[in-house]
Symmetry: C2
Subunit: 202 residues, 2 copies
Amino acid sequence: MNYYPPSIRNLIRQIAKLPGIGEKTAERLALHLLHASRKDAELLARSIVEIRERTRLCAACHAWSDAELCPVCSDAGRDATVVCVVEQPADMIAIEKSGAYKGRYHILGGALSPLDGVGPHELRIDSLLEKIPRDRVVEVVLATGTNVEGEATAAYLAERLATLPVRVTRIASGVPMGGDLKYVDQVTLKRAMESRHAVRTA
Amino acid sequence: MNYYPPSIRNLIRQIAKLPGIGEKTAERLALHLLHASRKDAELLARSIVEIRERTRLCAACHAWSDAELCPVCSDAGRDATVVCVVEQPADMIAIEKSGAYKGRYHILGGALSPLDGVGPHELRIDSLLEKIPRDRVVEVVLATGTNVEGEATAAYLAERLATLPVRVTRIASGVPMGGDLKYVDQVTLKRAMESRHAVRTA
C-alpha cells in the first residue's frame, strides 16, 4: 500500500471497506477512477452522498423512498386492498422483481427475535392494524422469512389479525424452482410434501 | 431497477459503470452505502473526488504522486544511480511490491506501437537521456513489457543508450514462479531455454 501516493492509498482503503471487495479489487477500482472521466467520478461521489440525504422511509408502507410516498404507494394502479407484509425493504424489492404481485406492502422493520431484544413493540405492527379498516384491506399476505424468526412473526401476526375481517394468507414454501430434489434440505422437503396440492383430481 | 426510488437507482447505475462490477454487486454495494455510517460514505465520496484533484505525475520520474516528487524520488535512501525504465505507473507499483528493487524509476508513458501512432516522440525518452549524466546513472534496467511493443521499446532504448557510458540491463524472461511447465506457452519456454544459466559448473 505504501507504493501509492497518499490520495490513491486513501481511496483504495475506503473502497476496500465495502463488503465483498478485497484489496486487489479496491486497487483496480481506484486506478479506474483515477483515469475515469471527471464527470463520471463526480457523479459517483455525489450519488454516494445523495443516497443518504434523499432516501427516507415511505410514510405509508415504510419502504425506501425519495418522497413522502414510495413508488408503489403513490401508484394508483396498485390494489390497496391487498397488503403484503415483509420484514425489510429489500424483501419488498425481491417480490417486486418477481412481477407476481400487484398490491401494496407493509414493511415491519424486522422479525420477532426475543434473543436480539426484538419484540412486537419493535416492529411496525400497530400501523399495519390501523391500515386494515382505513384502506378497506381484504387480504394480508404474510411474506416474512421462512426461518425461525420469520415463521414466528407470521404466526404472531396471524393471531393478531384473527379478530379483523380480513383474509390472511402466507406465501408458499417448498422446493425452489430449478431445484434438484437430492440437494434440497430435509426441512424444505418435509414442508413441500405437507403442502402438496392436487394437479389432477382422480 | 424501477423497484428502487431514484436516488438508490442512480447510485446503482453509477456503481455498475465500474469495471468488473455487475448490476447485482452494484445493488449490494448501494444498499450497503445506504446503511453505512455517514462518515464512511462521506470519506469514500471525498476520496473519489480527491484522487483526481490531488494526483499528478512526479516531476522526476513521471510516476503517480501527490507532491512535486513521488515517494520513491523523494526517498534519499533510494539509489539514484540505477534507473528502472517501465511503460506505466502501474508497472512501477508492481515492481515496488516485489520489494526486489532499491533504485529509482523512469516512466515512459507507453511503449512503441506504430499502429497506434506511438513513436519515440510520444514517449518520455529525452528526459531519460538527460537524467543519465545529471544523476550520474550507472545502470539502466529496461523493464518494459515482454510483448511485441515492450520488446521493441527495450531494443530501441538499448540502441539510443549505446553511446552513453551506462550499463543497460533487461529484466529476465522465463517460466513464472509456481508455473507448471505443461501450461507454459511455447514462446516463454523457448525464451527460458535460451536464457538458461548455470546452477553448478561441471
